[in-house]
């Protein structure tokens, strides 16, 4: 025997034999008070991530030639929307006719507005859901608002102290939120916005609303020359003029803009790991021959069948059939729609494939970025309310 702590013979072993009796005694002496299970940490987690929040449309205001600003009021018990990082998006969803509709929109209002129960999004007049929100939904209509999500926001560890924000069209939305957040003090960084629009009439915001030493705004018009505005394209010269040596680039706009600006940044030998771009929704795809397949869909113990075109994502087909599928980002990234393939062939474009390695190994998909290539049987999670 090697181990000995007590000098008293047999004492070490006696102690060991008494461990459970001692534990039993300590339990006996513990209070029989009711168990607290709502802790501070859990409460804050719940405030930040309450799940879907019910809200109603309270105002719609045209801004610029083709955008509309929609104000939502929280119908949550606490009367608020969760606090968020400026630049994040929310997913709105509701039933419209026989379909179930949902779309992600960048928040345009500020984090502090959310605590006041107000959330604003800016919607371009195109697409089924945007048209529904702008034209068909009545004032006071209810929509479900998902949690603010995504990592298209400033991070003081990852990013430079200066953000060069490059936007086109309604892609300016996250930056409007960031600028408002800087002005109100909930975010603190320098931001230069380069915004490309066709004409002055297409600019959906007033630069005067963001008067702050940390903010600089350059608007560049492609189809009009006007005083106080630049004209032409977002060239390397302009980018260089808007940069310092502690700059990270954020981009939000059409894919064509990303390609163009990336080329210009490359000519400046800008480190591409400091470029972030917000991803656009995965839409329909071009197919050589349009085919229709049959999807057998399991949700818990319910089974239904849906027709799906090979040119549309599985989520699009589900929603058209009125099935409430869990979906958030619609661009393959967030994994909220993570589903199991029981059988069938499918296609995910490499640039939209953000599945985990094990998902590929075991046959799981993100239906929002996946197209059917045969009849399929899939198992999707239920939508929680």
């Amino acid at each position: 025997m090697i181990f000995k702590r007590s000098e008293i013979p047999g004492e070490d072993i006696r102690r060991a034999m008494e461990m459970t009796a001692k534990r039993r005694q300590l339990i006996d002496e513990s209070p029989a008070d009711p168990i607290v299970y709502e802790y501070g940490v859990n409460r804050l987690a719940k405030d930040l991530h309450p799940g879907t929040v019910r809200a109603k449309i309270t105002a719609r205001e045209a801004c610029g030639a083709d955008c509309c600003r929609i104000t939502l009021e929280s119908l949550a018990e606490n009367g608020r929307f969760p606090y968020f990082r400026a630049g994040q998006f929310v997913t709105l969803s509701c039933r419209a006719g026989d379909s179930y509709l949902s779309r992600p929109y960048s928040v345009v209002s500020s984090p502090e507005d959310a605590l006041e129960g107000k959330l604003e999004i800016m919607v371009q007049r195109k697409g089924i859901f945007s048209k529904y929100l702008i034209e068909q939904a009545a004032d006071g209509s209810e929509v479900m608002v998902g949690e603010p999500s995504g990592d298209f926001h400033f991070d003081d560890i990852r990013d430079g102290s200066h953000i060069l924000a490059i936007a086109g069209g309604s892609g300016v939305t996250p930056f409007l939120s960031m600028m408002k957040a800087i002005c109100e003090g909930s975010e603190d960084f320098r931001l230069t916005l380069i915004y490309g629009a066709r004409t002055r009439a297409h600019v959906p915001f007033d630069p005067a609303d963001f008067a702050d030493d940390r903010i600089r705004i350059e608007i560049i018009l492609s189809e009009e020359e006007a005083e106080g505005f630049r004209h032409g394209f977002i060239t390397a010269d302009l980018l260089k003029d808007c940069m310092d040596d502690d700059t990270s680039v954020f981009m939000c706009g059409p894919d064509a803009m990303y390609r163009f600006v990336r080329k210009e940044l490359e000519s400046l030998t800008f480190d591409s790991s400091h470029i972030r771009q917000e991803r656009n929704s995965v839409g329909d795809r071009e197919v050589a021959e349009k085919k229709t397949f049959r999807l057998t869909v399991h949700i818990r113990d319910e089974v239904c069948t849906v027709e799906a075109g090979n040119d549309e994502t599985i989520v699009t087909a589900l929603e058209r059939a009125g099935i409430a599928a869990p979906v958030r980002c619609r661009n393959g990234v967030c994994g909220f729609c993570h589903s199991r393939v029981i059988s069938g062939e499918y296609y995910v474009a490499a640039e939209n494939d953000f599945r985990r390695a094990a998902d590929r190994k075991f046959g799981y998909i993100h239906p929002c970025s996946t197209y059917p290539e045969s009849d399929m049987e899939i198992d999707i999670p239920a939508v929680t309310v």
Partner: protein, 510 residues
């Protein structure tokens, strides 16, 4: 079907293992999971071009197919072993402790580790061999106790396992003091303390010695496709065996009948599912405080739950770096960066936000070179908080505080290793106690279940496991179970509770 033989609440490690064992016996089983994927902590997430491991640093107890560890044997029994690809780790850890000036790498392997201690002390190997001798006896004694179903013959125990009995009541610090090893040897052996999260004055020596012996003698491994691979392997097995898993499905009540026996569960949408047996893969705090009606919870269950101490609340910084591990100068998988090797001091410093005196950091590419694109690396650094300062933060301050803590950890790592990470951060994600509370529902964002306390350690919990259950038809398994925290423990706990449930069913004659 609205009736199952067994309902498992929660598809964490314990729940998944429990479901497989139930289904293996031919019973029907439904697993209800609040989230949209299985695994609980055993998961991963994607940011940009990086897939981050959510929690696993290294997996103990797998061994190799030729020399299987206890968890591999369990996985074989449950039918998931062939679904998982493991990669063995080369070294145990790289310890850097400022106070003592330690900066060394320790290898895995009984012989290799023993010899490596000669670098630390001229007689290091001798002490380690003696220590390993005690460890082997502890391991054999525990196996014997298991074989006798918890009723060992005292005579056999006295004759064959006297060291097991003699050190059985002591803490890590008490036991090492009695063994009288030099400080540097003890400090080295104490390195893994943060994997159990209780300081050396509280942590049971038997438990700790058994764990580190398994690490050093059997080595550790990591699944090739992150721990999400483990979780999906279990999910696939559950489907193969005809079981059901429902995601986005929260159980809000465990229902009991007039005799106080479990009779089913109620889901958030109001639907009821009947079952005489529930295995809850959650904390007893949640089971007794929330899921059961208070009338169904006996006084002693309240006393036991109030007696427990919540263990460390987790905090992890995940970095996707735009330089390779080699370019960054990171050669090791596991780094332990300590201000001091004194676990009592480290534990005390974890009470407050702002001072991260200890971190366990992984550079995943040194185990899995292809885990991120060429020219990039994944680094994640974890620490614990031992009290509840995170519950006092307002939502407006939350993002600022978490970045401040993360930054201090990155800087601490850079200083200790002489590397520059901050200029190459392409992606960052930070998990706080709030994050863990959100994804697991655990009180205060605890990641380690109930802390191993002097009188609430592994051996006394195992011996009192039947005494610690109160509601007929309800078993609670997982990281809060009798085997305490960690991947192998939570799988084993879940499987054990399933075995006990099957015995309960047999007794009922159903």
């Amino acid at each position: 079907m609205d009736r199952y033989d067994v309902i498992v609440i929660g598809a964490g490690n314990g729940g998944l293992a429990a479901a497989c064992r139930i289904l293996n016996s031919g019973k029907s089983c439904l697993v209800c999971e609040r989230h949209n994927i299985p695994g609980g902590f055993a998961t991963s997430f994607v940011r940009g071009r990086f897939e981050f491991e959510a929690s696993l640093h290294e997996f103990n107890g797998i061994g190799t197919p030729e020399e299987p560890g206890s968890t591999r044997l369990l996985f074989e029994e449950l039918g998931v072993a062939d679904k998982i690809e493991w990669v063995q780790l080369r070294d145990a850890y790289h310890l850097i402790s400022e106070e003592e000036g330690y900066d060394f790498v320790m290898p895995f392997g009984y012989e290799e580790f023993a010899k490596a201690n000669n670098q630390l002390h001229p007689e290091g190997e001798k002490y380690i061999r003696e220590f390993f001798g005690i460890c082997q006896q502890i391991k054999d004694a525990m196996a014997y106790i298991g074989e006798t179903k918890g009723k060992p013959d005292p005579k056999v125990m006295m004759e064959k396992y006297p060291d097991y009995l003699a050190c059985g009541s002591y803490s890590v610090n008490e036991a090492f003091e009695a063994l009288g090893y030099p400080k540097v040897i003890v400090d080295n052996l104490n390195t893994y303390w943060c994997y159990l999260g209780a300081d050396g004055d509280n942590l049971s020596f038997l438990h700790y010695a058994n764990m580190i012996y398994s690490y050093f003698s059997k080595g550790a491994a990591i699944p090739k496709h992150r721990s999400h691979e483990l979780s999906l392997a279990f999910e696939e097995r559950i489907h193969e065996l005809g079981g059901d898993i429902w995601f986005n499905t929260e159980v809000v009540k465990i229902l009991t009948d007039s005799e106080g026996h479990v009779c089913g569960v109620r889901l958030r949408d109001g639907r009821k599912i009947e079952s005489r047996h529930v295995i809850a893969n959650c904390s007893p705090h949640v089971a007794y405080g929330k899921l059961l009606d208070s009338a169904a919870v006996p006084e002693r269950a309240l006393k036991l739950t109030n007696f427990r101490k919540l263990a460390g609340r987790g905090f992890t910084v995940f970095l996707g770096l735009s330089k390779s591990a080699e370019e960054l100068g990171l050669r090791d998988h596991n780094y332990f960066i300590y201000d001091t090797s004194d676990s009592v001091k480290q534990y005390a410093s974890m009470k407050t936000i702002g001072n991260t005196a200890a971190q366990a950091t992984v550079c995943l590419n040194n185990a899995l070179p292809d885990c991120s694109p060429e020219g990039t690396a994944i680094v994640y650094m974890t620490t614990l908080f031992t009290e509840d300062e995170w519950s006092k933060i307002s939502e407006k301050d939350y993002f600022k505080v978490k970045n401040k803590v993360a930054k201090s950890m990155i800087e601490r790592f850079e200083k200790a290793t002489g590397t520059n990470l901050q200029d190459h951060i392409e992606e960052i994600a930070i998990a706080t106690p709030e994050t863990y509370a959100r994804y697991t529902g655990h009180p205060q964002g605890t990641v380690y279940g109930y802390e191993s306390q002097y009188y609430d350690g592994l051996m006394s919990r195992i011996q009192m496991v039947e005494e610690d259950r109160f509601v007929p038809g309800l078993r609670i398994g997982g990281g809060y179970g009798e085997r305490l925290l960690g991947y192998p423990s939570s799988y084993k706990s879940g499987a054990n509770e399933a075995g006990r449930t099957l015995r309960d069913m047999e007794k009922e004659g159903r």
